[in-house]
Point group: C2
């Protein structure tokens, strides 16, 4: 299937992708004129454009059996209502959009007025978080990441915590500080243990790190007291996004015993503006790592898979060129999102529409696949050299931007090679100086 | 000031209290007739009645300078809009209500139709959570509780974690599973380490505990990147509630290293239906414990105080009489809510209207003041004997209810003795059996 718009083959946003987002235009916004105040509207991405879902819905084009009964689900700036409709609605919307956007369908292609309203150049828009976040939970699902952290902080012989191979370890995160790509983040202040004096002090964090993660956006949830079986959990997942779990390592080290990371992790968590549906990722499924020892029945999956998604993290110093510092792949993750959802709900905890599950730092086996600076520099022993004479980094400097990218297919190897590219766009954030103490 | 309704001196809900809640009536609800569907409405408690705020507002009685500009703030079932208006609105609402409900004011007292609409017997209502919870954070702010846990799990010589006296330790909790008093809770299933085989197994939790806590409900918050100073933080706090942080101790022990408690804590957290404002608690202020060593400047308070609030927890087995198992007081807490808010936001994390901060288990110095079964039974070594031949408890049995109560004043000693009672009502929950595995 070809779109009626010309799509660069290198674009993240082929017609096979159609990720969901929320946009406003600078002058007008949504379909308003230049004089209207900015209005946020839901959209999908296609090539260099966004396609306004509200406009298509007002034109009566979501006419399938499910969405015709929910004629206002896109007349808002948050996907939650649509997500809560469940998989039949998501499939119908995707099929409808693919048909409407294809070269062979006239309804939108030949309606100049509707095209002018509904198709907006991406260069004219600001992107926002497209859903309202419920609760946010961050997991620790990469065996390579957990192993590396264990070797650095404990010992190679006891690198993995004893429970690690038996359950997907996670902790409750902070939903209020989830921000969209492009939002500048501010170096946090914190209480840390001063190494020289061996006393706690308050100062700007001296060890700001990123964590390259993949986020799972829950589409539907479960009632309190019930559980989501691992095997069926994929049907509850709306899609995936990129995530940078900004971290303050010195704060973390001092605060995290005995109850886990807190202020080290709650000052900013950044998401890509695009949520790529599981349906779009389907062609890029691949086997998940074999779990040995085997897991308890509630964590077993008859069809156990992850996705072949290339993941990169780069540092872009102010005025300097970008340096690629991590090249990983989502296929290395040990615990799957269905397993995380099953574990999260096994005791009866309820997941809700809009909840976010983070994969944890998505490291792979190789040294260049270590997906945060803590690991990548091996605790500072091996700083990363930046290109263009921008020096080296153990942790981030003020003015550095971190850019996370992710894509499946589109050449470059992997299970989806040769398929049209299905990408996430960028998760980008610039680190601003800390406020005065 | 006397109310025009007769109030039992033993009632938690004197005219000096006026805690906020949300109710519906069984047949009708709110001010609807018997045939109307249940409608939720905001209220305050007074003696054996609830007073419907929406009805008073529709009658034009919130006519002060702030609330007259927000004439719909009570025309909803969640306090969030009202809370977000800030302290001037809260003070004005309280002053207005005290005047309207006093024996000397005719406006409501002599308006039979309005009284019939606005004053509903508490025996006719169902109470709901009166605000929409944003994020929930649970702290660990009682030195006695932290010390006892340290002695049990580590050693008396290193009972407190090294950071404990320097910062209020907390962890992000789960907002989705916060339920109101009266909601039955279900024994969770979980993954635990089987002691006999030393292998992980899945089974119903065998160590269900309660934690008697006080919850702080944030009225206003801060922008991401800014901080709330400890000294001014009280102005951001709308009020306090009682909280039972239901806990699964066997699950906790296996899961919590290295990232903290997760499924052990996310299956139910129960709040009293009433939020008592800080203004109502003002007469019960008392000095907070002296902090030695001193704390860093961002945690210092010029006026450092807590409240003299009696706290009890009882176990009520099915059909049996209640046994008081813990008698504590909020005044024993080491870290104040303003300090928790200051620490939480010191790195730039944003608090929002409706966020909940839990105090952590509010234990006092005496053995009967240990405010959870883990501590109270000293890890099972000293089970609690129940009255009426109901046996003893290390942890809870199916069918047991836990009832938490809290009140200031009204006789019984303490700083507020002789003042009219300002109570929280109950935080009550019954433990149901676990679902089949
Ligand atoms: Ca993380
Ligand atoms: Ca607790
Ligand atoms: Mg984060
Ligand atoms: Mg809890
Ligand atoms: Ni106003």
């Amino acid at each position: 299937m070809e779109a009626f718009l010309e799509i660069d083959p290198a674009s993240d946003f082929s017609i096979d992708n159609l990720p969901y987002g929320c946009y406003s235009t600078r002058g007008g916004g949504g379909n308003g004129g230049a004089a209207a105040p900015p209005r946020r509207a839901l959209c999908v991405a296609l090539g260099n454009s966004v396609v306004d879902l509200g406009a298509l819905q007002r034109a009566g084009l979501f006419s399938g059996p499910v969405l015709s009964k929910h004629a206002d689900c896109f007349q808002t700036d948050a996907l939650n209502g649509f997500m809560a409709l469940g998989q039949p609605a998501w499939r119908e919307a995707r099929a409808t959009l693919r048909r409407l956007l294809s070269a062979s369908e006239a309804a939108l292609r030949d309606d100049a007025a509707l095209r002018a309203e509904a198709i907006v150049p991406m260069s004219d828009v600001t992107l926002h978080l497209p859903f309202s976040v419920g609760d946010y939970t961050d997991f620790y699902a990469s065996r390579y990441h957990a192993h590396n952290c264990g070797v650095m902080f404990r010992d190679a012989s006891v690198a993995l915590p004893r429970n690690w191979l038996h359950l997907p370890i996670g902790y409750h995160g902070r939903a209020s500080s989830i921000v969209v790509s492009g939002t500048p983040v501010q170096r946090p202040r914190g209480q840390v243990l001063d190494a020289a004096s061996d006393t706690p002090v308050m100062r700007p964090c001296a060890a700001v790190d990123f964590e390259l993660e993949v986020a799972c956006v829950m589409g539907t949830g479960n009632e309190l007291g019930s559980s989501i079986p691992a095997d069926g959990a994929a049907a509850s997942i709306f899609g995936l996004a990129l995530m940078n779990d900004w971290s303050a390592r010195d704060v973390q080290q001092w605060e995290m015993l005995p109850l886990g990371p807190f202020n080290s992790k709650n000052w900013a968590t950044q998401l890509s503006p695009w949520v790529v549906t599981l349906e779009a990722l389907e062609p890029f499924r691949c086997d998940a790592p074999v779990q040995e020892p085997g897991v308890l029945p509630y964590l077993r999956e008859a069809d156990r898979h992850v996705y072949d998604i290339n993941l990169t993290a780069s540092i872009l110093p102010e005025g300097g060129p970008e340096t690629l510092v991590a090249e990983s792949n989502y296929k290395h993750i040990y615990w799957t999102f269905p397993q995380m959802a099953a574990h999260h709900t096994f005791g009866g905890c309820n997941l809700r529409t809009g909840d976010v599950l983070g994969s944890g730092t998505c490291s792979g086996p190789g040294p260049n696949q270590r997906a945060c600076l803590l690991e990548r520099t091996w605790g500072g022993k091996d700083p990363v050299k930046l290109e263009g004479g921008a020096g080296q980094r153990t942790y981030l400097r003020d003015g550095d931007s971190v850019v996370i990218r992710g894509w499946a297919g589109g050449g470059g190897g992997g299970g989806g090679a040769g398929r049209r590219r299905v990408g996430f766009g960028e998760c980008r954030g610039k680190l601003l100086p800390s406020p005065a103490l």
